[in-house]
């Protein structure tokens, strides 16, 4: 039963004074479990729980995952929990990804990844040749291999040579009409059906895909970033980039509609100016722009040919705070059905 127990050390020799050492180790009772996602992925582990909590071998619990598929917990056996761990804590041993037919070790193998019984756990899987993937929270699957990061440069095509560097996440082997995200591909705005919704003026600039990394989780989908801006015609230097006109060059930007819609603020000295696929910047323009302190509240209207709204989309899972995801804000990748593109007709 649950409650306070007493340990008594008694000397049965009834002899004189003597010394003793006593060591005490407590291991909570634990239940082995398996959580299976609707797509066949699963992970196994154990949860510390008293005999009176309600778990038993054969216990099941159904949950609908983020893809709308039914997943379920099943208690498969009993075991002894890790010394010093507490009731309610959840440990994960292995994650199996059905899409890649591989098993992966979780990051938190030696530590609890949840503290409030089943469905409280969340963890990342790690493997040397893939990024880490978040799973858990009762329903997130690691979703290995479904999305890719596409590194790109966007080149203006007015002879200046200016470009900016960034990356966007989209489904692996993404293709829409004639548009194919592949290394070495130059992506112009027309006559691709991709931008045929009426928003196809990149001023003859183009995106150039420079690298692809596969195997990202679905929670990355529709995020994009700009990491640097190169002023080729005036200063011939890379400029710091931030996302909101603040004084600090965060060197990262989250676009609202990603490629073909992204906007960053290039920084030079105490000033900054906005750029996007339709309007480049250089150090001369930046120098003539408001200083950072005042510009942060009101970005210079003349620095971009069209205003680009900065919208903050839903955050990733709350537990995903130990990876770059914590800095990420969701946005959209190139979308054939973008409502924003329609608005720009």
């Amino acid at each position: 039963m649950d409650g306070y127990y007493t340990v008594v050390i008694h000397d049965i020799t009834l002899s004189d004074t003597g010394d003793y050492n006593m060591s005490f180790v407590q291991m909570p009772m634990a239940y082995n479990f398996k959580y299976t996602y609707g797509n066949g992925d699963y992970y196994t582990g154990w949860v510390n729980a008293s005999q009176t909590y309600g778990y038993s071998v054969g216990y099941t619990e159904e949950i609908t995952d983020e893809n709308g598929q039914q997943g379920s917990y099943a208690i498969t056996g009993t075991t002894t929990g890790k010394s010093g761990s507490k009731v309610g804590e959840v440990f994960i041993e292995v994650y199996y990804d059905s899409e890649t037919d591989r098993t992966y070790g979780p990051v938190g193998f030696d530590d609890p990844v949840g503290t409030n019984y089943l469905a409280s756990e969340g963890d990342y899987i790690i493997q040397s040749d893939i990024p880490d993937f978040y799973f858990g929270d009762g329903y997130y699957e690691a979703d290995v291999g479904s999305y890719s990061r596409y590194d790109f440069r966007f080149y203006y095509n007015n002879g200046s040579g200016d470009y900016y560097v960034g990356y966007v996440y989209a489904p692996t082997s993404f293709q829409s009409g004639d548009l194919q995200f592949a290394v070495g591909k130059k992506l112009y705005d027309q006559p691709l059906p991709f931008w045929s919704q009426g928003y196809k003026s990149l001023n003859d600039g183009y995106y150039y895909i420079t690298g692809i990394t596969d195997g990202y989780a679905s929670i990355y989908d529709k995020q994009s970033y700009i990491t640097s801006y190169y002023d080729a015609d005036k200063a011939k230097v890379g400029l710091g980039v931030n996302s909101d006109g603040s004084a600090t060059a965060a060197n990262i930007y989250v676009a609202d509609r990603t490629a073909a819609w992204e906007t960053g603020y290039a920084i030079s000295g105490a000033n900054h100016a906005a750029f996007n696929p339709y309007s480049e910047v250089d150090v001369t323009l930046i120098a003539a722009s408001p200083a950072l302190a005042s510009a942060a509240a009101s970005p210079p209207a003349s620095s971009a040919s069209r205003p680009v709204p900065l919208r903050v989309a839903p955050s990733p899972p709350a537990n995903s705070t130990s990876s770059p995801r914590s800095q990420a804000v969701w946005a959209s990748y190139w979308s054939q059905n973008s409502s924003l593109l329609e608005e720009e007709k």
Partner: protein, 87 residues
Amino acid sequence: MNRKLTYFLCIVLAGNFLVSAWAADRGAITSGQTVSYSIDGAGISDSYQFYGHAGDGVVITANASSGYLDPVIYLYTASGTLEAHTA
């Protein structure tokens, strides 16, 4: 003499014994802790408390470090019921 008690806290109770009235209360003990004390004179015992859940496992080891003690380990519930003991 070295004594080791390995036990899983059960809902089913064993026979009834009383905690020694002579036991000196040494307070709470937590998992991973090792303590050293003296037992001073015949018939004197030491007692420790911990909170356990049904089904928990405990491993308690006691050994004499000086003198001629032969420590025996008893485990009692809050109601004074003996759950387990070493020989």
